[in-house]
Symmetry: C2
Subunit: 202 residues, 2 copies
């Protein structure tokens, strides 16, 4: 895990309370509040118990998406892959999070399993300060492209400039969107008469 990814994984661990989203057997999104229990160079560890729909969804799909917010770190999001790991990680989680003993006292902890989020990509996003800021990160996976990019067939008409809420497009050949400050709202894409703006995400 590179330093940038490690920084964001540590932020998830610092925030601790995150939302974990999964897809259920009917293909519906499901989400609940969880704790990110451990963050290491291998990824993030979470625990859940065998009887829960969350557990079944993790096992069935091998995927989870996290998002979290805090006053210091603003908004974090992540989507990645998950696998069940040895029960010794349940013990590690209880060592590092002793409050868990109140919820699952004694040996009752072993109805839990630990899951490692071993790869994925995410984004940090600060909507609270202007201009807005964003940065992508990933570990054991490639960063996912998002937002919009102005291509060479830009005719320099300037239609995109006034519609940009964050004023992050600058003149040039071609015009350029500053991806760090872009809301990814798509307003420029909608108005471009030359169809010169490419959507980078699906």
């Amino acid at each position: 895990m590179n330093e940038k990814a490690r920084n964001y994984v540590d932020l998830f661990r610092k925030v601790k309370i995150a939302s974990a989203a999964t897809v259920d057997e009917q293909g519906r999104p499901q989400s609940r509040i969880i704790n990110v229990m451990i963050a290491s160079d291998e990824g993030m560890y979470i625990v859940t118990s065998k009887g829960k729909p969350f557990y079944k969804q993790l096992v069935d799909t091998g995927r989870v998406a996290l998002s979290a917010m805090c006053p210091d770190c603003q908004s974090l999001k992540f989507t990645g892959k998950v696998k069940m790991v040895d029960k010794k990680w349940v013990d590690r989680v209880f060592e590092e999070n002793p409050g868990m003993n109140e919820v699952y006292p004694g040996d009752t902890r072993y109805i839990l399993d630990a899951f490692l989020i071993y790869e994925g990509s995410g984004e940090w996003f600060d909507l609270l300060n202007y201009p807005i800021n964003r940065e992508t990160f990933s570990y054991n996976a490639s960063e996912e492209k998002a937002g919009f990019e102005i291509q060479k067939n830009c005719i320099g008409c300037g239609s995109c400039i006034p519609v940009c809420p964050q004023k992050c497009i600058t003149e040039g050949e071609p015009y350029k969107i500053d991806p760090v400050h872009c809301l990814q709202c798509g307003a420029c894409f909608e108005v471009c008469p030359a169809e010169a703006i490419k959507r980078l995400h699906p």
Copy 2:
């Protein structure tokens, strides 16, 4: 919307900052931090802009799951259906949330659309106080069953009592799980020698 559901919808609005989960075109869970902009008897309103993957996922699937946490309300989760509504709701959102004008000044707001979460079901869950507490709610949809129930073929052996982390099973014919305090961990289900415990959720 009944009073109980209204209460929880108001909580989402009070918390404001929630995670919104969707399913992307590859079937993966995706999640990001959003604001619940308006809560009314019709449901919850959210906004997003046309260029975002979130927008496309809402339109393509018609579904969203929310979860939120706050010191007072503990943990809330919800999954339901969503539909795009008239642009006048974008104006309503900006009236009630004037801070939105800093992100989308002037007419740039109309790259946003408003979506109404018009039905769904959810759960409030308090893991911070013991015994833990939970309550389900729904609007324009039936409440979803979750957890475990002991059936008539219970043999009264008592195997389930010591494995329950929250001690919420009481003797009787059959034994009974208190659903309000149940972690839904499934420990009782795993040990029952009579297979008398039914899993209520998929």
